[in-house]
């Protein structure tokens, strides 16, 4: 008796069981290759309705904020302690005096603000004045009830400034316009447009790391020293309230 030869060939493709096996195999390979992405995504969609709600999210955020505040406070205390050890200037965030601007001369021969807090409230000459955006100026003189603030833009007014990105000092000089000039002490200045300008962390006159402005123009080849033009972040023309920073050593 002659046995019929088993049928092998393309006719197998026509059988549904072959496609089933092929699909299962392809699926397994796909799952393995994508490291189960589909399953995970499907799981995420599936459990979305029973995930922790917005209230819990708020609690977590609140907790993070508190943690950050504590961390900042600890770092500030640590920083102040180290600065004290190095005899550098420091300030305490709690010792701020809020004051309203009662008169303004931000474009005249003298660029100054008059504020409604004076010696009675502990404001003395040389204290730093900040507004929304950063450093505004320095207290020039104070009476019992008012103080006169010399703006950073006042022609000839000079303070030390610092660009943290390139770690270089410069002298910020008021030029009568809204854009004071930052004269670098180092000839090889690598300042770029967009660099943030702050008060020097090693300053013995001003509190450290207060924002002053952003570099808008750099002339690296200028003589006798390179300079940059700084756009102030705090606009004295628009500020109605300022804060006077009391130093830690002042009572």
């Amino acid at each position: 008796m002659i046995k019929a030869r088993r049928k092998i060939g393309l006719h197998l493709l026509a059988k549904s069981s072959f496609w089933l096996i092929f699909l299962i195999g392809a699926l397994l390979f796909g799952v393995r290759w994508t490291k189960g992405t589909g399953y995970m995504d499907f799981y995420a969609v599936l459990v979305k309705p029973i995930l922790p709600g917005t209230a819990q999210r708020e609690w977590i955020k609140e907790g993070e904020k508190i943690e950050q505040k504590i961390r900042i406070k600890l770092l500030e205390d640590d920083n102040n302690r180290l600065r004290k050890a190095l005899s550098l200037k420091s300030f305490n965030a709690d010792q701020r005096i809020s004051a309203a601007v009662i008169a303004r001369s931000s474009r005249n021969w003298w660029q100054k603000l008059e504020i409604n807090k004076g010696a009675k409230d502990g404001v003395t000459a040389g204290q730093t004045v900040i507004g929304p955006g950063g450093l505004v100026g320095i207290v020039d003189s104070s009476t019992i009830l008012t103080s006169r603030v010399r703006l950073l833009t006042d022609p000839g007014h000079q303070i030390g400034a610092w660009i943290s990105r390139i770690k270089q000092h410069g002298i910020l000089t008021g030029m009568g316009t809204n854009r004071p000039k930052l004269i670098f002490l180092n000839k090889n200045s690598l300042a770029q447009i967009g660099d943030a300008v702050t008060t020097s962390p090693a300053s013995t006159i001003l509190p450290p790391n207060l924002t002053i402005g952003i570099v808008r123009f750099v002339d690296a080849k200028a003589l006798p020293s390179p300079y940059a033009i700084v756009q102030l972040t705090a606009s004295p023309e628009a500020i109605d309230w300022v804060q006077v920073l009391k130093n830690n050593d002042s009572k």
Partner: protein
């Protein structure tokens, strides 16, 4: 009438002048620049007073104005110079009361005061010497000239008439 004029003068000198200098009202500004109030006050006083009185008034006014500035730059040299120049022109000619003349004299005074402050600033601050062209100073000077030229004919001529009536 004379009494009233004296009261008006006293009111302007004791109340209005300090108020305008300190408060610098927004409605009396051009480009954020106030009129040159010492010039507006000194002009009629110098034209109607004896030269030495005008000289003393200029020094007093300069001391008063300097109390509102924030550096060593002083109003006194320019105001003294103006009091001497205007004191020499102390004439009884009625034409001096014309608004146009008062305006021109106040513009001259503002230019003198402005240049004096500018030069003193350059002398006192090394950083300003590097640039002979200080754009801020020209901006302030021109704005101050315009606003003083507009305001002075009203205030100064009124003060001059009040002095005359006294």
């Amino acid at each position: 009438m004379i009494r009233n004029n004296k009261k008006l003068l006293l009111f302007f000198t004791v109340v209005c002048l300090p108020a305008f200098v300190i408060g610098s009202p927004e409605w009396l500004k051009i480009n954020g620049i106030t009129p040159c109030w010492p010039v507006i006050w000194l002009l009629p006083f110098s034209l109607k007073s004896r030269p030495w009185i005008a000289f003393l008034a200029a020094i007093c006014l300069g001391i008063f104005m300097d109390s509102f500035t924030i550096d060593k730059v002083s109003y006194i040299p320019s105001l003294v110079f103006l009091s001497l120049v205007w004191g020499r022109n102390r004439i009884q000619n009625n034409k001096i009361e014309l608004l146009f003349n008062i305006g021109l004299m106040s513009i001259f005074g503002t230019i003198c005061v402005g240049f004096s402050i500018w030069i003193q600033k350059i002398l006192f601050y090394n950083s300003l010497r590097n640039h002979w062209f200080n754009s801020w100073a020209i901006y302030v000077l021109i704005s101050e000239i315009i606003i003083t030229g507009l305001v002075a004919p009203f205030f100064s001529s009124w003060l001059l008439l009040s002095y005359k009536k006294n």
